[in-house]
Symmetry: C2
Subunit: 196 residues, 2 copies
């Protein structure tokens, strides 16, 4: 595989969403997962690094929304951001929303275009979009895209049903497909948006 | 930049080390940092994904060694690994050692060759080794390499002094260079070892 040259400019805006609902648990039930503090920090820092304009933290649970918003307030308006201004720059990209629809609406409102929805999975399926094709689409298109990651044991089937494409899984060298979502998201941002 | 084709075989063994000493704190003092539970999980899972044979957790502090070894025991021999066998496969790659020298000696003992030592930094310096060059070296060489990451505010100068090379920083698109070590390590493994 060969990526486009380092001089290509990514024209489209790629947004991210981290879903805590609807996702699967270890036994395949649909659940709302709990927020992991470090997921939010790591995704925000990777988004800031790769020029992602916003990362949606999706949970319908009010107490979990409050937890995420408290974390954000600490780093954006509180002492966290005073001590580490570079962390504030990252955390301010987080947006807590109650559903994937709300994230899509927010992007549509900003961009005046419905975003192309890309789902991710650790499992290989048919008709997946390769990282090279995805990178090419981002460099050719001018509209918004939303790349969705699942917590827990991955996105529930209904997310795949409404997605425009599913990205190929990250190919390790050993068949092992249990990367943390923090790592998978970082690697995908690098593959889709990184300078080479 | 253009990576070698997907058919090339990585011949050398690339080991990882996560240093908690000697590293710098926010004000530039040399310190021993505390172990972060999720660093160990995430690095182990990324190492397992990319075929890294071992990841050294370096700390001279006995209580921190005990903490890391307790975590490893839970996942390798305890109930953790019974519930999540795929996590056991990853965590068993972790080796707690008291110093970088001990990690180098361990690899030398296994490989009967002194490993080539590569340091990492978020800052751009002179004479850095590009990721492409590093990938080419790994695919051409047969000896062991050790890739070292710092916690806190990065590796202390004495680590750079004994390193054979410093890898170029991960180029974001915005000049922001504050990736978590968990993300930086995952992205580098993908750039140096990943299938494309």
């Amino acid at each position: 595989m060969q990526f486009a040259c380092c001089l290509d400019l990514v024209m489209a805006q790629l947004f991210l969403a981290l879903l805590h609902y609807p996702v699967l648990n270890r036994t395949g039930d649909k659940i709302a997962s709990a927020i992991t503090n470090l997921d939010l920090h790591d995704l925000a820092r990777s988004c800031r690094t790769y020029g992602v304009p916003a990362c949606y933290v999706v949970t319908p649970l009010k107490d979990q929304q409050a937890l995420a918003n408290r974390l954000i307030a600490h780093w954006v308006y509180g002492t966290g951001g005073e001590i580490l201004p570079e962390r504030r720059e990252a955390i301010r990209l987080l947006r807590v929303v109650e559903s994937l629809s709300a994230a899509l609406e927010d992007i549509s409102g900003q961009s005046r275009q419905t975003p192309v929805l890309w789902a991710t999975s650790a499992k290989n399926g048919r008709d997946v979009l390769s990282h090279r094709e995805a990178r090419d689409l981002l460099s050719r298109d001018s509209g918004p895209f939303l790349l969705v990651f699942g917590t827990g044991w991955g996105l529930a089937p209904e997310v795949f049903d409404i997605s425009d494409a599913v990205l190929e899984p990250i190919p390790g060298v050993s068949g092992y497909n249990h990367l943390p979502v923090r790592s998978a998201a970082s690697i995908l941002m690098d593959r889709l948006l990184g300078r080479r």
